[in-house]
Symmetry: none
Subunit: 229 residues, 4 copies
DNA sequence: AATGAATGAGGATTCATTCAT
DNA sequence: AATGAATGAATCCTCATTCAT
């Protein structure tokens, strides 16, 4: 009627990005089931129906949001990881980054663990591929370690991967339920140590090796600061 | 009207058990959200309302079902575990049993992982306590191993626990999504080995020599930066 | 089994009284719909089924509770009212008592107004009879007042009754919704005065003269219309 | 499946009006608790869910229905009331209209008395405001009467209001329970008389005044008919 | 491309009342 | 007389998705 129709026509990319930003917020705040499409639409400044032009459905939207988060993480990590040398340093770095990612985005982490990964179609999704790329850094690390003789050749690289990410996930569940925190630095050290040396008590040589290992870690942590000066 | 009121009066214990059995079936087959109370009631041979005399609500019912499953597992394991001697044997036994439990009851496992553990109230539930008892066997094992000198004293027992159950869980997600199986025997062996020996190659004299060299170089490089501050 | 069944066997009268006391509490606290039989049973120290030995159903229970309240009120008022002399004093007394009753038992009052009086069967209930007796004191008072010449003979006693109790009820709705109080003394005075003297200013000779003039004019204007029909 | 999705898109105003019309019918026929949303939806030619786009919930719907009824009454009365002159005529008019409203819409009246007015939130509702406007006409009338000397200045206008509407309500409860009728004309006369003159027997002047008053009423009732010819 | 009204399936839960024990 | 387990009907509301405009 007399009411003017204010149709803001943004570029599709921008529109899509707005929706994803809004969705990430709402999913993070409310969780998947409690998040409602109309609120996402409202925050994105679009109408409910418009979301369906860009995303197949609510689940698809969640997948896309999570994918973009993974892509962010991977692209952030990549350059830094490239600068870290030494098998054990790199391993600790990956562990530390993952602990940080969960600490910074517990809500998104929980969404992935609870709603995406259990999805029967999960394996066919892009998120699965991204996650694979993300976790495969450990697999490759192990392979390289085997090649250069630092890692014994009879371990399953994928089992190492599952062990590391499984341990982290298990360890952080309390935090994901908002029940207390954890210190990524300490935990990364402990976990790296445990994975690399195992439980068994060993002879002297190993003790020395471990001491060296700790020194290496300390230096690695100092290097960026020193380089920045 | 013409409907006869057939009131069968069973012992409360029996009635409760019937409902739980039916619920376990339906939850396993359908998952939590898709399970409907009326079907559980029907299979249990009761009327919907009767379920609510024994269980507060659907979620409570799921918790109770899961608890009884855990109790079963714990009471089944206990005598056998008591008969297994040797730290590493016992560790392998626990790992193997857990792998078997998931393999035998993937649906219940998924329910716990997906619906119960993420519950904000989880920590206050009996299921949490049971799960703690269940996983604590690893913690105790580590402590004993430390005491008798088989395990090095500087590992965090709870981190070992998280590592083991995390690794198992991560490893079995594909199976939980019905995407292929795994061999509990092999996997238990691999995991026990990995946890106990770690990744490192045993003889590392050369490695150490090289590492020491690197450290010396690194320290030399750091000294100017430290001096500049 | 080994559990001893503690069946306390009280006199039926006592049992009935306990239930009514509990019911009055629960109804008062929760209102009719929100009151649940199991809570009444619990507070009365009986089992749900037992209530139905003494009362036909929930509604019947509410009626009985209300009846006993009315009986209390009537028997409390009676002796005092007998001691009050003079039509206007007695009228004021009745009004004041009713205002006090509502002030003391707003919850019971609301139950009667909201759930009992609108009942299609209300007129057949004992509560109706009691209420009639309760309010009829006004009717009788008016009749007596007419007889002794204090009240003009052309008023409908029942209309006076409805006016008084209606006015009180209307006036107290805010209080019944827990929205503020009222002062029974002042209000009783005002109401008695208003009912007895009405709205009109006393000396109206001039008014009458003016009215008569208007009437003459009106009739003059009407005559043509009447003639036209 | 094979069900065709027939989407009829009406103007929101029309749709809302349809729902309210249907709701008024169903609420009137069944009462609040017995009215079911699905029947309202069906009669309105919409789907249940659609009702919730226009009304927050069942209670809100009832409030809106009642509000529209009040608005109708007020807007119907207004022009006629403006045409009626003289304090006592106007008073009788208001009383008469209210008696007629209840007589015409006993079911809606009962809904208001039983479900809306007792609502703890009632005072915050639009219905309360409307009702206040509706009944305030009496308050204003009294104030005007005091100003022009027809009404004694020491009465509480709001008490007069409560007395009138309370009396009407009390008087009509039997009818609201479907137990017999009443004659609005007679009752309006009686009530006006009682309110204006009170109970007390007075001297001759008042008798004359009353006779004049009755004549005025008779003429007032004749005027519309005469004017319409 | 955008709108946003309409769809419509879907299910947990409550609780007064009964009646076998 | 007392118990209390069993009954089972009954319904409001949500919200992802569609599609006419």
């Amino acid at each position: 009627m007399a009411t003017k129709r204010r149709v803001s026509r943004l570029s599709p990319e921008r529109r899509r990005a707005d929706i994803m930003t809004a969705a990430r917020e709402v999913f993070s705040e409310k969780g998947f089931n409690e998040a409602v499409m109309s609120e996402i639409a409202e925050r994105a400044g679009v109408v409910e129906g418009s979301i369906y032009r860009y995303f197949k459905n609510k689940r698809d939207l969640l997948f896309c949001v999570s994918e973009s988060w993974f892509e962010e993480m991977i692209s952030t990590d990549e350059p830094t990881l490239a600068a870290v040398t030494g098998t054990w340093n790199r391993l600790r770095f990956i562990i530390h980054r993952h602990l940080m990612a969960i600490k910074t985005h517990p809500d998104l982490s929980r969404l992935v663990f609870q709603h995406l990964r259990p999805d029967p179609e999960y394996r066919k999704t892009k998120l699965f591929a991204l996650n694979k790329a993300y976790t495969n850094r450990v697999v490759e690390l192990v392979r390289e370690g085997v090649e250069n003789g630092e890692i014994r050749p009879d371990v399953s690289p994928s089992l190492v991967r599952d062990m590391i990410f499984g341990a982290i996930e298990h360890r952080t569940w309390a935090y994901l339920r908002n029940e207390g925190g954890y210190d990524p630095d300490t935990l990364a050290d402990q976990l790296t140590d445990l994975v690399s040396f195992g439980l068994r008590k060993k002879d002297q040589t190993d003790e020395i090796a471990r001491a060296v290992e700790m020194l290496e870690g300390a230096i690695a942590r100092l290097q960026p600061a020193a380089g920045a000066s």
